[in-house]
């Protein structure tokens, strides 16, 4: 999560209009999930990869590592569909275990493949958004979409506080380590508990201070801020429109079929 945050500030696509990127990512995601077909998922997955790595200049190795995270879940999740224990071997593969077979059908293999590629493509849409758009810009888009203020304000504060608290937690942990706070398992557990409670106290204190500071700038219960927006470029908008219409057509076609 911190890695994604760091990468998105370096992305070459960072200064592309945020609404464009948001619309692109969300529409592609919707088509992927609605169609559930590889004909949509494969191009979406590839285009996202090309844009993020090729245009955004996110290092390929990082991108692959990030994609491997959902892979673990996918493998665990799809194992249940793929594997059957049966007395009769199915058509795709069969490993005998005593009198039984660990087996699967061709149909289920195809289903699993389709599921995996759809899921990866969907995840790549979200990665595209989060690796190329800063949180601040995303909040700006959500504000434009008239999401409830409360939700956006919470996201704004939480996003800022994640880093503050992580910093504090790291500082406390370092201080504990320098006093042998992680000498063995039991001290490690105790140190973690102490750190967590110290962090909680800090969080409460900090939020009180922050409230005072915000009040002293005439805070009245609503956080109003200005966002900077990069202008949308005509050719980018056209490209996105063409691409999404294509995806829409493929989606419709795959559903009818």
């Amino acid at each position: 999560m911190i890695l994604i945050d760091k990468l998105c500030y370096q992305s070459k696509l960072r200064y592309v209009n945020a609404t464009e990127k948001f619309v692109y990512a969300v529409l592609s995601l919707v088509f992927c999930v609605v169609s559930g077909s590889a004909t949509v998922a494969v191009p979406v997955f590839l285009v996202n990869g090309i844009l993020t790595v090729g245009k955004g200049k996110i290092p390929l190795s990082r991108y692959i590592k990030l994609l491997l995270i959902p892979m673990t879940f996918l493998i665990l999740g799809t194992a249940a569909i793929l594997l059957n224990v049966s007395a009769v071997p199915l058509d795709a593969f069969a490993f005998p275990i005593g009198k039984w077979y660990l087996t699967g059908s061709v149909k289920s293999v195809i289903r699993v493949c389709r599921l995996c590629i759809t899921a990866l493509a969907a995840v790549s849409c979200l990665y595209f958004l989060s690796l190329n758009t800063t949180m601040t810009d995303i909040l700006g888009v959500l504000r434009k979409l008239h999401l409830p203020d409360l939700l956006i304000e919470l996201m704004l504060l939480i996003y800022r506080f994640i880093f503050l608290l992580l910093e504090t937690a790291a500082a406390i942990t370092t201080a504990q380590e320098s006093r042998l706070g992680n000498r063995d398992y039991s001290t490690r557990i105790r140190s973690f508990g102490a750190m967590a409670s110290a962090l909680f106290v800090q969080a409460v204190k900090r939020s009180n201070m922050l409230y005072d500071a915000m009040e002293s700038r005439c805070y009245d219960g609503t956080i109003r801020v200005l966002t900077q927006e990069q202008p949308a470029r005509k050719n980018e908008v056209i490209w996105i429109a063409v691409y999404e219409i294509l995806l829409l057509l493929i989606t419709i076609w795959s559903i009818i079929k």
Binding site: M209, A213, M214, C218, L226
Partner: protein
């Protein structure tokens, strides 16, 4: 246009005790601050400086006594508080306690939008302050990737954009490197030039002696001694009580005067540079 009063802030016998504490943070404190002046607040931790500052823009309401801004008592209604906070801005000691947004631009725009300024004008003001304080080079970075000094500049911009009459800086130089200390001090000079009254808490006696028009020594929630820097620093007893040292330039000047090593013209020098120039 209201006629400008000589005293921009008057505190009359204010006391304040934090909930759950026996000892008052402020007890019977009385102080007047002249418009356009530079006032240094000095005193140990827990001497009541920060609490006093919070009383000045209505974040804390004194249990007793009253605060007057521009000769008018602070009204603790919504409208009254808005007005006071527009006039008196506080830059908090820890930028991390003040910056609530990860975006620098968003952060700075918060205060001015709360004043009900139109978006178009607010945008201009935010841009102006960003330019003025040299924030441009790191404007696009998230708050958590800024250095301490950069965060401090943003914290100052937060308040400056609201165009206050009085600006309070709570230990602005604490945890800053020399480079940023110098930048912040330069900004403070600029504030005075444009007529903003500056109140600054500091532990740096040498700096306060050279910078301030008035030094306020605080001790246990009230004013121990206040006046022109030379007057305050001549009261060795008060300095000792507040655990403060005589400014180096003053100490050196006195010794050199005894030995006739310095020209007496122009009275007591305020800074080391001035003393250097007057060596004979």
């Amino acid at each position: 246009m209201k006629q400008e009063k000589e005293w921009v802030i008057e505190a009359e016998h204010i006391s304040y005790t934090y909930e759950g504490n026996d000892k008052p943070a402020l007890s019977d404190m009385t102080l007047k601050i002249r418009r356009g002046s530079r006032v240094a607040f000095m005193g140990g931790n827990g001497s009541g400086k920060s609490t006093f500052f919070l009383c000045l823009n209505g974040i804390r309401k004194p249990d007793a006594g009253r605060v007057l801004i521009d000769g008018e008592p602070v009204s603790y209604t919504r409208k009254g508080l808005l007005d006071v906070r527009r006039r008196v801005g506080i830059v908090f000691q820890e930028p991390d306690d003040q910056l609530f947004s990860a975006g620098v631009y968003q952060e700075i725009s918060f205060g001015i939008l709360n004043l009900g300024v139109e978006e178009e004008k607010a945008r201009k003001e935010v841009e102006r302050v960003i330019q003025e304080l040299g924030i441009r080079p790191f404007q696009e970075r998230p708050a958590h990737a800024l250095s301490g000094g950069q965060k401090k500049l943003v914290a100052i911009a937060d308040i400056l954009v609201m165009d206050p009459e009085v600006m309070i800086l709570d230990e602005p130089a604490s945890s800053l490197d020399p480079k940023h200390t110098k930048i912040v001090r330069g900004i403070v000079e600029g504030l005075t030039e444009r007529g903003i009254t500056v109140l600054m808490a500091t532990h740096d006696m040498d700096y306060a002696f050279g910078w301030a028009d008035e030094i306020v020594l605080m001790h246990e929630g009230s004013v121990l001694k206040s006046g022109a820097p030379l007057e305050v620093c001549s009261d060795r007893e008060a300095l000792e009580k507040a655990n403060l040292e005589v400014p180096a330039v003053l100490r050196l000047y006195e010794k050199m005067r005894e030995k006739g090593m310095v020209s007496l013209e122009g009275g007591v020098p305020k800074t080391m540079e001035e003393l250097e120039r007057r060596l004979v």
